[in-house]
């Protein structure tokens, strides 16, 4: 069977997320337990998490999480990394042997700082430099796959049910202010660890439930700007789109949301003149980044989360609050596990972004 | 509520009723009918004899006409008008008061004082339904009929009875048939068709004396007959008008609003002498369409509306044994005549000062109304239009702009 990247694999999913607006620590068991009631939304072929604020001691270093097929690949990859980065620390990611998770690859993490001289010669900033490195490894180095590359954050994913993946990675031992989770229901994957979600680039991560119909339009557009959609997954292309719009074009989250889940022209035309002008501009300039077909995503970055549905709301997604915490999940049941007394349960409308910033963005 | 009184129950009366009702739905209308019939069309009496219509179908308006128009119909003969008291007295002494009076008294046959006429057993005039019914009783397959008068009435009578009698002779002092509407050449065509159908003519000749079943002609000839029909002419019924002090010439003089010279009295139909736009002066135009339109105009004005009928022209459509003839307007001596012969027919247009003033069509009368309207409207025509008009009657005579109004607008 072909794995992700060789063929486009549709899948259904479960997603969940929690964030503390005050930036308070939340342990990983909170999020992986929330996936249990949504067990049937996954099929054991992929589960994963993104956690923010988990590496405070290395918060200024890029944290690479990498799967290796083989020891020799690790050596080769490490050599390449060292050509471009100062590797401050490299270690195995601690895991727990459990019967539900098997056939694991070699899983390492590296805390690195870009070599300024190399970076200067490429005339790019550290983010672009790091992103290029990730693309290079993932497209050209067979058997090595970088699945996390942000600062003070990390993705953890595996083939298996998400609640088991959480136990496998000992997530209860990590404390972060924001977590997202994903359980996957792919229809024809052999089960490749790299194909599990979240998908991330730098500190951006995406968990996504849906199957977008605009995929190839989006992919062929975004690939003009140096991105390579090696996995052929929605999550990958959405991550790149957001990276392009937010980091490269400098759009705000709200603006980016109105590109990828653009309001209908009839809605735009009913807006006040200034708003109308802006929305028309965004749809005119970035028509190929409109995403159609069902999706519910939670986009994570250092300092916040954004939940967004496709403009027709073809996938379920609810949000709720309790004190400083905001919860997001495909089903209310997941939220009730995290916080039985959650309040202000809300189903965001299609195309309506729900944006939560830690400490109102002054994080 | 206004009291409208109409003397007469013919076409003009119907026009008058409908004219009043178009303006005043409520006023009281009284109609005095000399004939004890529902309103019928007098020109149909020959068609009745011919079998082309029935008494039933001859009704000019549906059975419920009076009812629907809320008209009080009285059979009787009006004999006296009192303009001071504004009343009309009937033969039976009944007095009817009016606010507005319309005289639609029509005309009656003119019978010259022939010597020995009283010796003729079967003699008829041909004007009313009763005339027609009386004549019908006298008809038989071997009867010899002498008709005095080769005008419209005489000839229609001839056509109507042709299949029901043995022979018909028509005499007229004029040298041609239909002398009032046709010139000699056109008349000859019509005469020919009549002759083909067994009718004989003695033209330029007329009866001067009768003895039983024999007529003695001016020329000295003698004609034996069984039935005599007198169709010499008609006279407007103006007696009441005279009483009312209306100005009367050949008919009751009316303006283009159908008022007589006496206040509150109107006149319409064959009794009236209205404006003939083809000659620019008043004259009696005893034709049915004219009667209706005058009646309608009178009715509207009686009811306080304002209607003007100022474009009456003489016109006739008549046919004998399948040969049709249409005429309209006047035929001034100094008009240019454009002539076209057609198969068994003829077309003559009389053009003067860039206008069509009259025409005669024998045979093909298709779209004759286009010509009639040119006469009626006195339409000014340029050379191109005149050339087009000479070809045949069509809307091509008009400019594209005028045509688009006619065919693309509400008319």
């Amino acid at each position: 069977m072909k794995r992700e990247g060789e063929v486009r694999i549709p899948s259904g999913c479960a997603i969940a997320a929690v964030i503390s607006r005050d930036g308070k620590g939340i342990t990983g068991d909170v999020i992986y337990n929330s996936m249990k009631p949504m067990h049937d939304r996954s099929n054991g072929l992929g589960g994963g998490f993104a956690a923010y604020g988990i590496y405070p001691e290395y918060k200024d270093l890029f944290a690479f999480h990498i799967f290796f097929d083989h020891r020799s690949t690790r050596k080769e990859c490490e050599a390449y990394l060292k050509e471009r980065f100062e590797v401050v620390k490299g270690e195995l990611i601690p895991t727990r042997k459990i019967p539900q998770i098997t056939d694991e690859p070699i899983i390492w993490r590296y805390f690195c700082a870009p070599l300024t001289s190399v970076m200067a010669s490429e005339q790019v900033d550290e983010n672009e430099f790091t992103a290029r490195t990730v693309m290079k490894i993932n497209t050209e180095m067979n058997g090595a796959y970088v699945f996390s590359s942000g600062k003070n954050m990390g993705c953890f994913k595996a083939v298996g049910y998400p609640e088991d993946v959480g136990v496998f990675y000992r997530l209860e031992e990590y404390e972060g202010y924001s977590w997202t989770a994903h359980g996957r229901y792919p229809t024809n994957t052999p089960g490749w660890w790299g194909g599990a979600h979240p998908f991330s680039l730098l500190d951006s991560s995406i968990v996504h439930n849906g199957e977008i119909s605009s995929y190839d339009a989006n992919r062929r557009y975004i690939e003009m700007f140096g991105y390579k959609c090696t996995l052929q997954t929605d999550t990958e292309v959405i991550t790149y789109i957001l990276d392009y719009l937010l980091r490269r074009q400098g759009l705000t989250l709200e603006e980016a949301a109105s590109v990828i889940a653009a309001p209908f022209w009839s809605t735009i035309n009913a807006k006040p003149e200034k708003e109308k002008e802006k929305l028309t501009f965004l749809r005119t300039v970035f028509p190929s980044l409109l995403i159609t077909g069902p999706f519910s995503i939670v986009y994570g970055w250092n300092g916040g989360l954004m939940a967004l549905n496709d403009r027709l709301k073809l996938r379920s997604m609810v949000t709720a609050e309790k004190n400083d915490k905001v919860f997001i999940a495909s089903e209310e049941a997941a939220i009730r596990v995290m916080e039985p007394d959650a309040e202000n349960l809300y189903a965001p409308a299609g195309g309506e972004p729900v944006i939560v910033r830690v400490k109102e963005g002054k994080f | 509520m206004a009291e409208y009184l109409i003397i007469g129950n013919g076409t003009a009366a119907v026009g008058c009723i409908e004219g009043i009702r178009s303006t005043d739905p409520d006023g009281n209308i009284t109609v005095v009918s000399g004939e004890e019939h529902h309103v019928y069309s007098r020109p149909l009496i020959s068609y009745y004899l011919e079998g082309k219509t029935t008494l039933e179908k001859m009704r000019y308006r549906p059975e419920d006409f009076y009812e629907k128009n809320n008209v009080n119909l009285i059979y009787g003969r009006a004999v006296k008008v009192d303009t001071k008291k504004m009343s009309v007295t009937l033969e039976n002494k009944k007095r009817l008061f009016y606010d507005k009076l319309c005289l639609c008294t029509g005309s009656s046959p003119f019978v010259p004082p022939f010597e020995g006429l009283d010796t003729v057993e079967k003699k008829f005039t041909f004007m009313t339904l009763d005339d027609s019914l009386a004549l019908e009783k006298a008809l038989d397959k071997s009867a010899r009929v002498l008709i005095v008068g080769a005008g419209l009435i005489g000839l229609k009578c001839a056509e109507g009875i042709a299949e029901r009698v043995g022979s018909i002779t028509v005499c007229d002092l004029a040298d041609r048939v239909l002398s009032s509407i046709l010139d000699s050449e056109c008349a000859a065509l019509m005469q020919h068709r009549l002759e083909e159908n067994g009718i004989s003519f003695m033209l330029g000749d007329t009866a001067v004396r009768f003895e039983g079943s024999k007529a003695f002609m001016k020329s000295g000839a003698e004609v034996e007959f069984d039935i005599l029909v007198l169709a010499v002419g008609v006279r407007a019924e103006t007696e009441l008008a005279k009483q009312a002090d209306c100005k009367v010439n050949r008919g009751i003089v009316v303006g283009t609003d159908m008022r007589t010279t006496t206040p509150d009295i109107f006149a319409a139909g064959d009794c009236a002498e209205g404006f003939d736009s083809s000659i620019g002066q008043n004259r009696v135009l005893a034709i049915l369409p004219n009667a209706y339109m005058q009646g309608h105009c009178a009715g509207v004005n009686m009811a306080g509306g304002s209607e003007v009928f100022d474009n009456a022209v003489p016109m006739n459509s008549i046919g004998f044994f399948g040969l049709h003839c249409a005429t309209a307007g006047s035929y001034p001596e100094d008009a240019e005549m454009s002539q076209q012969k057609t198969e068994g027919g003829i077309k003559r247009l009389f053009i003067k000062e860039g206008r069509l003033c009259g025409y005669m069509l024998i045979g093909d009368v298709c779209r004759a109304g286009v010509y009639t309207s040119l006469v009626r409207e006195k339409t000014e025509l340029d050379e191109e239009s005149i050339a087009e008009m000479k070809k045949f009657p069509s809307l091509a005579i008009f400019s594209a702009e005028k045509r688009s109004k006619k065919l693309g607008g509400v008319v």
């Binding site: 557009y221 003009m224 802006k278 995403i291 | -």
Partner: protein, 501 residues
């Protein structure tokens, strides 16, 4: 010299049991095929004059007529077809270049028909266009590489001029002269009602149609007919015509007989003079010359109107398009080899150029590979025949399509392919006032609007099936296409997988 007799191509079959001798066929045939014989009391036909335009068939009130292909054949020969042989006879008779009209009729591959469209099942939902909004609006024009903000951090929303279309279809260039006033009126009115554009072609813009300017693309072709300031200013966009799919590499020739009255005035050339469009623009012998013309036109229109460059699909189209995309043009229009024409040498029409499907796929990919796809919008034409073709073109990467033949068919054209005769019985490809009036623009525009409304509905249905609710998400979405019966090479050029993959 007596010419060789060539048996007529068509036969007129009249059902005498149905013919009522109303003579409509006689009155409506400008080729004078039908005639009433008063002595015989029947209608008779001169079949040698018949071009099979079907006007008589269409108007015969009792359906007593049909036109059939003559079965008088030469001895069968797989190499020497009847048509080939008859063309030789014609040329031997006349010594002339053979002329034809409309698009290439040869049985060359139609790739649209070898491409199939996807639909959603289970893993994501099809969308019902009757229930959900379904958007077809597109903006054609150059898109900025980078957004800009003002001092307050607000987006600066000014961008290069865009052509807004309610659906990704435009009526392509057909000149006034090659088609009639009423055909132009129909196209202009329909485009306006539909919120799309029509194209003047190279014959100028009749003064009556300036009112439709916001829905008009004006063309500047090698003959520069009718080009002046007001003409450029009236338009929504200006198109430089470099070539035409039906006759790449050659110009045009409208005979002086058609340069009469309004046509002469609109083209700004004397009555009766032949209108010759040179093969090249004589001020464009290279790509840098094109750039100068593009900017001349932009200067003339104060950078307020997008400039389209139209080229025929030829072998090196991807590189040509890349050059155009860098020339300052806002839109590239590519015309495939099946595109129509009012007159073209038969040999050129039938043998020059390449299919639009392949040209489109390679151009779209090339511009993406070079990262300049956003510099230009891509409009393709050359036999887009249905809503399915539109959907396939957009999924291959087109921003919009140009249709002309389909529009003419809606106006009554029966593809008899004798436009060059000027005796179009349907009032389209003619300047004879008696024939021109046969096309009532009230009906013509209504039929065009109907056709496009129908296509719009179908496009929405197809999009809905794919789970796509806006045309933007279809553009370049080649995953929605699969090939059938295509070689690896064809699939790779089209950038699509084979059905079943």
């Amino acid at each position: 010299m007596k010419e060789h007799y060539i048996y007529p191509e068509f036969e007129v079959v009249r059902n005498e049991n149905r013919c009522i001798k109303c003579r409509v066929c006689e009155r409506q045939c400008a080729n004078e095929v039908h005639r009433f014989d008063p002595d015989l009391g029947i209608m008779i036909s001169d079949e040698a004059k018949c071009v099979n335009c079907q006007r008589c068939v269409s108007l015969c009130p009792t359906h007593a007529l049909k036109i059939v292909k003559s079965d008088c054949r030469l001895r069968e020969n797989a190499n020497w077809s009847d048509e080939t042989i008859k063309e030789i006879y014609k040329q031997a008779n006349s010594g002339g270049v053979l002329l034809s009209s409309m698009g290439n009729p040869k049985p060359l591959p139609v790739y649209w028909d070898k491409i199939l469209i996807n639909a959603s099942q289970v893993t994501n939902p099809p969308i019902d266009p009757l229930r959900e909004p379904m958007e077809t609006k597109v903006f054609l024009g150059k898109k900025p590489d980078k957004i800009r903000r003002n001092a307050n951090g607000e987006l600066i929303t000014e961008i290069a001029p865009q052509l807004e279309l309610s659906m990704p279809v435009m009526f392509s260039a057909m000149s006034y002269g090659s088609i009639s006033y009423n055909a132009h009126a129909s196209l202009a009115r329909a485009a306006t009602e539909l919120g799309i554009c029509y194209n003047t072609g190279e014959g100028g813009l009749h003064e009556d149609f300036y009112v439709y300017g916001p829905n008009t693309v004006v063309q500047v072709a090698s003959g520069r007919f009718g080009v002046h300031k007001d003409y450029l200013e009236a338009a929504a966009a200006v198109e430089i015509k470099m070539g035409q799919g039906a006759k790449p590499g050659i110009g045009g020739h409208l005979p002086g007989a058609k340069i009469v009255g309004d046509v002469s005035r609109t083209r700004m050339i004397p009555e009766g003079s032949d209108a010759i469009s040179p093969a090249p623009h004589h001020d464009i012998y290279s790509i840098e010359d094109l750039r100068q013309l593009v900017f001349s036109l932009k200067e003339a229109t104060e950078y307020k109107k997008p400039v389209i460059v139209k080229v025929a699909a030829v072998h090196n189209i991807a590189a040509i398009a890349s050059g155009i995309a860098r020339s300052g043009a806002d839109i590239i229009a590519i015309d495939g080899f099946r595109g129509g024409t009012g007159a073209a040498p038969t040999r050129i029409r039938d043998n020059v150029g390449i299919p639009i499907e392949l040209a489109l796929a390679s151009v779209d990919q090339r511009l993406r590979d070079e990262g300049i796809r956003n510099n230009v919008s891509l409009v393709v034409g050359g036999s887009v025949r249905s809503a399915a073709d539109v959907v396939k073109a957009v999924a291959l990467g087109a921003d919009a399509v140009y249709v002309a033949t389909a529009a003419l068919l809606a106006l009554g054209c029966h593809l008899c392919r004798t436009c060059q005769s000027g005796k179009c019985n349907w009032g389209i490809a003619t300047q004879d006032p008696e024939l021109v009036k046969r096309l009532n623009p009230d009906m013509g525009s209504r039929r065009l609007v109907n056709l496009m409304d129908a296509w719009r509905h179908e496009i929405k249905e197809l999009m809905g099936g794919m789970g796509i609710n806006s045309i933007e998400s279809l553009r370049g979405n080649r995953l929605m296409l699969r090939g059938v019966g295509l070689t690896e090479k064809e699939l790779s050029i089209l950038g699509i997988s084979h059905a079943g993959e």
